[in-house]
């Protein structure tokens, strides 16, 4: 700091610098946020009578977590869960298989421009459409059942995996890939020995993460008729059978925790 600015600062108490430095922008953001919040909360309509009535039901639901009922709808829960697991496994495998070529095509450093644009278009479409909306369309087209869910989840997996894989390929070290190319390798050999070893560990990690996501999503696809535990859960809520619903939710939380733990172990082994 030069002597002049130092002299100016001396004797003045220190103040914490603001996160947004431009005062106009800062106050504009603060006032804008306050106006928006007051407008938005003003347009909320709360039916307090319904809420107070519902609070008792809410309390019953919390109590139901202490006494979950796995038995009385045991077969329904088991069938729904198996269907969810089946959808998860198949859609993850098919999704990975499809996203590998698309991910290669969506990496600018190895794909020609037309291929790149098509693959990026597929990725963007798959990411922009919500799973539930895709599931609604798939149920309309393919009929009720796990097939619609399987197609939905595979489609969603493509957007997720191909995008991250393409970014990973774009970040890879060119030196290794070029070394393989200079030995006179064919295109397949180049991908296999120059590119693949650099992205594989991360791809395995991401696939495990996607398996986890697909399981969570498969639990809601049943709400729109695309198979899985969601249908059982929906029925339980409709009948106010909170103890069964609590049992299903506990199973979902437990499975997700186990999957997260396992995927952590596998990712550590691979990397």
């Amino acid at each position: 700091m030069s002597d002049v600015t130092l002299d100016m600062r001396l004797g003045k108490p220190w103040k914490k610098p603001h996160f947004i430095k431009n005062p106009v922008l800062r106050w504009g953001l603060i006032i804008g946020t306050l106006v928006y919040i007051s407008l938005a909360t003003g347009s909320l309509e709360v039916n307090w009578a319904r809420v107070s009535e519902g609070l008792i039901r809410g309390w019953n639901f919390i109590i139901a977590f202490a006494t979950p009922d796995f038995v009385s709808r045991g077969t329904d829960i088991r069938d729904g869960l198996i269907e969810s697991v089946i959808m998860t496994i198949t859609s993850t495998i098919v999704g990975i298989a499809i996203s590998i070529p698309i991910g290669l095509g969506a990496a600018r450093n190895i794909a020609p421009l037309p291929v790149y644009l098509v693959c990026r278009g597929i990725v963007a479409l798959s990411r922009a459409l919500n799973e539930i909306i895709v599931a609604i369309l798939m149920v309309a087209i393919f009929g009720f059942g796990p097939l619609a869910g399987f197609i939905t989840l595979s489609f969603a997996t493509i957007g997720f995996l191909a995008k991250l894989m393409a970014e990973d390929i774009e970040d890879m070290s060119r030196v290794q890939a070029e070394a393989v190319k200079s030995t006179g390798a064919t295109w397949m050999q180049w991908i296999n020995y120059g590119v693949q070893p650099q992205v594989l560990p991360r791809l395995v990690g991401l696939s495990m993460y996607r398996l986890d996501i697909n399981f969570r999503e498969s639990a809601v696809l049943g709400l729109v008729g695309a198979g899985g535990i969601g249908a059982t859960l929906n029925t339980a809520f409709d009948r106010y059978e909170f103890d069964t619903a609590a049992a299903i939710l506990l199973i979902i939380i437990g499975t997700v925790m186990v999957l997260e733990y396992l995927s952590g172990i596998i990712r550590k082994k691979v990397q």
Binding site: T41, S43, I136
Partner: protein, 272 residues
């Protein structure tokens, strides 16, 4: 990397040892077997007649939904506003709850590692592993249908996500700055405000915008279970098979998602 020698003395290099190769083939075998079994189960519960008919049905739906019914947009302004509110207020509410949870969960700021931290981690995992649609289903059956149920569903679902990313950011802060501030004789509260908060503020801003972007997507479908927003219109249009309206709603949702993603990318670009 193993090198084997043939009887003629020539050395052969292989990428993996024999056991590694066997393990790999076994893993492939298990995966293929699992896939085949799962596929058999799926095809058992599929009505294949519908599937063979799928291309015709898809073409039929496509021709019915074109052109989209543009004048229907006038009935959509209020649902769009509701959807935006669900996403934004839900995110704000989630952040208000996620900050304390994150401070309790981070191993360097938690008051007790044995007692408080596990509870905070359970809150994080359980809110995160249940989809917002399920939270909405639950809240609709408790407090009744409407925007508030959707807002709360989004808020609860986002706690775990925000708290997880935030506590990781807190754990990664530079301890030297904290020490420097404690060395001036600062109180616990002052250490928090001057030592920890400025270090995690950029991460916090990034996380909020990121989650807001995700919540825009999720809030568009909450109406399917009665929790307000544009999903309600989607549901009622689907129920009466009004495909031109469905097409318009899908276009609106797509635009909303793209705009949300653009805004969040801009804001994150400005912060980081």
């Amino acid at each position: 990397m193993p090198v084997t020698e043939t009887s003629s003395g020539q050395k052969i290099w292989q990428l993996r040892t024999r056991n590694q190769t066997l393990i790999r083939w076994f893993a492939y075998l298990v995966t293929v077997a699992a896939f085949m079994w799962c596929w058999a189960e799926i095809s058992k519960s599929t009505t294949w007649y519908f599937v063979w008919d799928a291309p015709r049905i898809a073409a039929d739906i496509g021709s019915r939904s074109f052109p989209p019914k543009w004048e229907y947009i006038n009935e959509l302004w209020l649902p769009i506003w509701d959807t935006l509110n669900i996403a934004t207020l839900g995110t704000i509410l989630a952040l208000l709850m996620a900050v304390p949870v994150a401070f309790l969960a981070a191993s360097n700021t938690t008051p007790s590692k044995v007692f408080v931290r596990p509870i905070a981690l359970v809150v994080i995992v359980s809110t995160r592993s249940i989809n917002s649609l399920i939270w909405a289903l639950l809240l609709v059956s408790i407090i009744g249908p409407g925007v508030v149920a959707g807002l709360l569903a989004i808020a609860i679902r986002s706690i775990g996500f925000c708290a997880k990313l935030l506590y990781e950011a807190i754990e990664e802060i530079d301890p030297k700055q904290i020490e420097a501030i404690s060395a001036t004789g600062a109180s616990r509260w002052q250490v928090m405000v001057y030592g920890i908060v400025p270090q995690i503020l950029p991460a916090f801003a990034g996380i909020s915008v990121f989650r807001w972007d995700i919540n825009i997507r999720e809030s568009t479908v909450l109406g399917l279970v009665g929790a307000g927003g544009i999903g309600l219109q989607l549901q009622s249009s689907l129920n009466v098979l009004a495909w031109p309206q469905v097409a318009l709603i899908l276009i609106v949702i797509l635009v909303a998602v793209v705009v949300g993603e653009w805004v969040s990318a801009k804001v994150r670009g400005a912060i980081i």
